[in-house]
Symmetry: C2
Subunit: 756 residues, 2 copies
């Protein structure tokens, strides 16, 4: 083969040009970066500048024969690529030149190009026929700093909790039978209580720290131990204890809350009925007031009106039972009552029937059961009467006059639980991704026949694309949920309608995302992912139900959509046009923006990576979907259709409104957090992560954006390419990112996540 | 409220017009249908014709006040809608008129409109404020005829097998421990063998019926019993027995095949290694030939070179072991050898080490294990030498000279197993959908406050959209796999490259589809879907691994893509342009078609429901993706990049080629089958099902079609609407369709699939 020669100035540019022209992504602004470098590089003669500039013309790209010569020049140099260098490509370039006996020194301009264009070794380590000294992680980012950013001022308590979980009781093992699993989980629960972790969200006088946000982080971490433990913990301290804390009076709190926090009183939360899964307002259990005895009679009227899937049902002494409260023959709506289930010897009390729900897909360490009540009498003192009670004369009274508002205020106490469920799902995603990414950083597969070592799984583009955007989404959703819990915790007694809408939406999109992330992780680990010892199997089965419980996602998204639409409500009823016209005005503004062909096909990376573009696109979608849904409903109603039917006819549309609302909320909150990061390097990283997530979300609805004319073909394609590119740019940091999730080593027991 | 009046001719048209204008889907061709009816309706005066025609102008639609009047006219009639009428809307129209004391009779023209427009009661039963007599199933199609269409000439044997499964041994129960589950499954396996079902695919002289197609249907039905049983059955009779049948010689068949078929010899199939999951060619186990002893020494060289996930490993006496065959110091590539594992007392033999794989996500009734061999000696007679053996002089000989071709020929025997895996996955989808649809046909939820009965789940548009297109896809994939098995079975000894490519692709898309269908079914059943008693949980966990085993989907799709690209191969090497130009010509033709704005925005239902449009769109995608992938690879290679790296850089693109290829193949084969159905009514039904599936597949890649200019915005939106519409059109038949899957009642044990 003929020996290829280049001049001293040009030689170090050859690897850069080869990389640039092997890539499909060279945008106009990127060409400007290289041009600037060439201009300012003093080591170049004017003649050399001209040659290099010629090779940068996108309209007239270098001939294949030229590009092939570059490749030969690189190969013939016998240079070795060392990925761990600070500027691996620039250092490699020096070596290539030196291999051809051309004496060159460090080139700042090329370093500038390498940094500015975000060229990563894994973009080009396949391209040269040279020896490569691989580096699995760039070590540019420190997991412990990431952990600090993720948990903020909660971190010291979170770390104390992680240490607490080193206790051997929390060591993960397989318990094939539900009886065995339940015994272990009950023991763990009591252990947590004795450490003071269960009462964390309660007021200090009841053994707590009055800190709901750290409580949620504790809940999240329990998913790393065992999904059953997290759920059992949530039922005992969050749902049962929370119902006493939030719906009860001070006498009830004094009597029960400390005992709940230390598990001397085990309780359950009996809301759902077999016949009424998602329709709490339609439950049939009744609590009828008997004035002469000042008592309530709890009763399950029909065969399918029993309480269903009640966690802790087999271990509990008491239940918070939701029932229709009947006073003087009038139904005052759903209220909560404390109903004893068992005596001190754990015998079920008269009139109460409890059945085991049996084996489930997952969470077999949770004792779910069905409960029937047959004319069970409890004193009026057991009515959790903060929002509605019965006075001494036997009359119903409530601080909230509107029954509808009262109902939603009571249910508003469930919002904290919904945030925890989303956090639990996200924890399952984080842990599954941690395991699958660690596996991908160790496992090698196939190879080029000439190479001895097979490639790392994570270095396959398809593998990057299936895992890295999901790691990015975990971080976005993490901050969204942190913010949601902050908003909820700091406004516990105010109007919860807004946060309820927000949480309904976030819970839905995040639990669905997590299901997919866990599934993708399982598949990315192949057969190893199928073995229970590697943990993903249990995370998958345990978190699967999170899309259903504490509110079915489909139902919750409609709730969110109705929240979004509520501004239109008056219009539907009154026929007034003011609010519609106002929105219509905004729509017209969008149209003006999107009709601009420069915007519609703007494909440079500055634009595509700009969070303003992401927020604009997502917000545009939300507003347009909301507007069209409102118009459709309005038109149906104008034609005489009852509003329930009009909503039904737009049901699939409303789900999209709910999703769009939630995605834009998550990203907005994420970027607000990102802007507050003070360290430049880390802030840039989080913006990059935000870009990957946002482009991925936009890409999922690309057909809609194209239909609307908001995206042009070129831009839509560019977004797809940028997702691949960003995934590869984050590849060198992926090990640090997953370690930054902060899952303690002692809980990461999966053998495939270790070196082997 | 004022009483609304219409003339005698117009009155019966009012409900039709109300339905039509409440719907967003009235296309030009549909307006023509109504116009024709009006023209030919003798009961109308010319004046009435004019009024009705006026109401059909899309450019100037009836005012809301008018439409509202129609609604009032309907409500005031106090007519009752009876869905079970042959022409429910036309009959209802008569009643509406009669309610206003207008004397009308049956109207053939309105019947024609109702039929031609495909108006279903569930399109409008919500629209009128009238009493509705619901009908859950239209009973228009008979499940047993559907069953005949699905199983064709195999049906009598399939039915005999279904009856065989009535034996109490096959009754589904929960076995929490793997030991308990394995014991039951082994007993069931022997029971099947004694019924002659295991040997079904073997030649008659070995107790079989030489019928691979029926064998595959048996395998599929075993998924309805238990996933573990299906897999254990596949390992014993398909993989182990199949290796003897297809890779062995007649002496080996005589010695082992009958015993395998009656389970007196239990065997396993030891191919996969821990270190080499998907890369069979890279396995490290060796079989070294010792000429002096005429024996082979089987050896596991390294710690991670053990055989992994080997089904039947704990029950087997013998294994078909894949190893690198070393003859005279030369590696002749991967070959299969029969290696005894245990003695008659079930003691593991010297040099063999077997470990239980432990608990898995699912399939815990299958005894998967790891196997190590330490210098285990077997006679040369144990080499399955159909495609490569060692002669008396100790020299390697093979009827296939090219080692590459030899390797793929041996692996070609796995194709049958891959079809079975896809069939097993699809069976899990069918059963899950059967359960979730039956649940949706029984379970009621929420309601309009004025109605007493809550709506059936299946009557929610979101519920229809999540389940009905998946039922349609099950039918499409069913026929695709029937055809694949036919092609494979009828060409067992010929060139298998084509069918291998086809099956690699179909296995991937169908197992992924099934995972989603099972997941959707679980969620559609809410908490009930999470209980193991309702079966979906086990179907989910058991079939989850089907995306990985018998070839990881990501790897298989690349295999399929490379098959598709093979026409280009010579071009890559030689630089000749002929084949590229040929394809380029086709591309240009596509461009001419797609540039036609009439085609790009053709939204009438005739066009969108036409299978020619579906096939054209899917084929267009395949060809364009193939062409662009080929061009990208070619360009990389021209720039000097090694071909392995060029493929790697286009990896995500190639996955899309593989998927596109498989989808178009499935639909093509489906429509070929559909055209052969002789009964008009059923053929129409299957075309309708094909439309729903095809539009759904096209819709999933809508952003790509829009980017390419193949679809215009209006058409893309229309496709989305048609998917919803077709789902609702199939809604009245969904009960018949799932019953048509033929899952026997005695295996459908889920309590939620029964009346409750």
């Amino acid at each position: 083969m003929q020996k290829v020669q280049y001049s001293k100035g040009i030689a170090p540019y050859i690897p850069f040009f080869y990389v640039i022209w092997s890539d499909d992504l060279l945008s106009a602004s990127e060409i400007q970066v290289v041009k600037k470098a060439i201009k300012e590089d003093d080591s170049l003669s004017n003649e050399e500048r001209k040659i290099l500039a010629n090779w940068l013309d996108k309209g007239n790209p270098p001939k294949n024969t030229e590009v092939k010569k570059w490749q030969q020049f690189i190969t013939q140099s016998k240079a070795k690529l060392v990925e761990s260098e600070i500027y691996p490509l620039e250092t490699f370039s020096q070596k290539v030149a030196k291999g051809h006996k051309i004496d060159v020194t460090e080139n700042n301009q090329l370093q500038y190009v390498e940094k500015t264009l975000g060229i990563q070794p894994n973009h080009y380590n396949h391209l040269f026929n040279v020896e490569v000294d691989r580096q699995i992680d760039s070590l540019r980012f420190e997991p412990k700093f990431l952990d600090e950013i993720l948990y903020g001022d909660k971190l010291s308590e979170v770390r104390r909790f992680r240490d607490f979980l080193k206790h051997q009781d929390f060591k993960w093992t397989i318990h094939p039978t539900k009886e065995g699993a339940r015994e272990v989980v009950l023991k763990q629960l009591k252990n947590l209580a004795s450490g003071g972790w269960g009462a964390y969200a309660y007021p200090e006088e009841y053994g707590g720290k009055d800190n709901l946000e750290t409580y949620a982080a504790i809940f999240e971490h329990l998913m790393f131990v065992d999904g059953s433990l997290a759920v059992k913990f949530g039922v005992q301290f969050g749902l049962f204890g929370g119902s006493i804390q939030n719906l009860g009076n001070s006498v009830q709190r004094d009597k029960y809350l400390s005992n709940t926090g230390d598990t001397s009183l085990l309780g359950c939360f009996a809301m759902t009925e077999t016949g009424h899964g998602s329709n709490v307002r339609g439950i049939n259990t009744t609590a009828t007031y008997l004035h002469e005895e000042r008592s309530l009679v709890i009763d399950t009227p029909g065969k399918y009106d029993n309480k269903e899937y009640i966690g802790n049902a087999l271990h509990s002494k008491m239940a918070t039972v939701f029932a229709q409260l009947i006073v003087n023959g009038q139904n005052e709506g759903v209220h909560a009552i404390l109903v004893p289930l068992r005596d001190t010897k754990h015998q079920v009390l008269d009139g109460v029937t409890i059945e085991d729900n049996g084996y489930k897909l997952g969470l077999n360490g949770v004792d779910n059961g069905k409960i029937w009540f047959s004319q069970v009498k409890v004193p009026i003192e057991n009515l959790l009467d903060k929002y509605g009670g019965i006075d001494e004369n036997g009359n119903y009274k409530s601080p909230i006059k509107n029954p509808n508002k009262r109902f939603f205020t009571m249910l508003g106490t469930l919002v904290g639980g919904r945030i925890c469920v989303a956090k639990g799902a996200l924890a399952a995603a984080k842990m599954s991704l941690t395991i699958s990414v660690k596996h991908g950083l160790r496992r090698r597969q196939f190879n080029d026949s000439i190479k001895i070592q097979e490639d790392l799984l994570i270095d396959y583009p398809t593998h990057q694309l299936r895992l890295i955007p999901k790691v990015a989404s975990c971080l976005v959703y993490h901050f969204a949920l942190e913010r949601a819990m902050y908003e909820y915790a700091s406004n516990k007694d105010g109007d919860k309608r807004r946060i309820e809408t927000q949480v309904a939406g976030l819970k839905s999109i995040i639990t669905w995302f997590s299901s997919q992330a866990v599934q993708e992780s399982r598949e990315a680990c192949g057969g190893k992912g199928y073995l229970r010892e590697n943990r993903i199997a249990d995370l998958k089965n345990d978190s699967d139900i999170f899309t259903t419980f504490e509110g079915d996602n489909t139902v919750l998204l409609q709730l969110a959509a109705k929240g979004v639409l509520s501004d239109f409500k008056s219009e539907f009823n009154s026929g007034g046009f003011a609010s519609v016209l106002k929105l219509l005005g905004n729509q017209l503004n969008d149209k003006l923006t999107t009709i601009n062909p420069l915007y519609v096909n703007k494909v440079d990376s500055e634009h595509l990576y700009n969070h303003k573009f992401h927020l604009h696109a997502l917000d545009f979608r939300l507003r347009r979907l909301t507007y069209t849904a409102a118009m459709r409903i309005r038109n149906y109603i104008k034609k005489g259709m009852p509003s329930y039917q009009a909503f039904l006819k737009t049901q699939t549309h409303l789900l999209e409104v709910g999703k769009a609302y939630s995605e834009v909320l998550a990203i907005k909150w994420y970027y607000e957090k990102t802007r507050s990061i003070t360290d430049d390097k880390y802030r840039d990283l989080f913006f990059q992560i935000g870009s990957l997530h946002s482009l991925n979300i936009i890409r999922k609805d690309a057909e809609w954006y194209l239909e609307q004319g908001y995206l042009g073909s070129a831009k839509s394609k560019a977004i797809r390419q940028r997702i691949e590119r960003l995934s590869s740019e984050l590849r060198p940091h992926i090990g640090s990112l997953i370690d930054g999730f902060g899952i303690p080593e002692h809980l990461l027991t999966a053998p495939i996540s270790k070196d082997w």
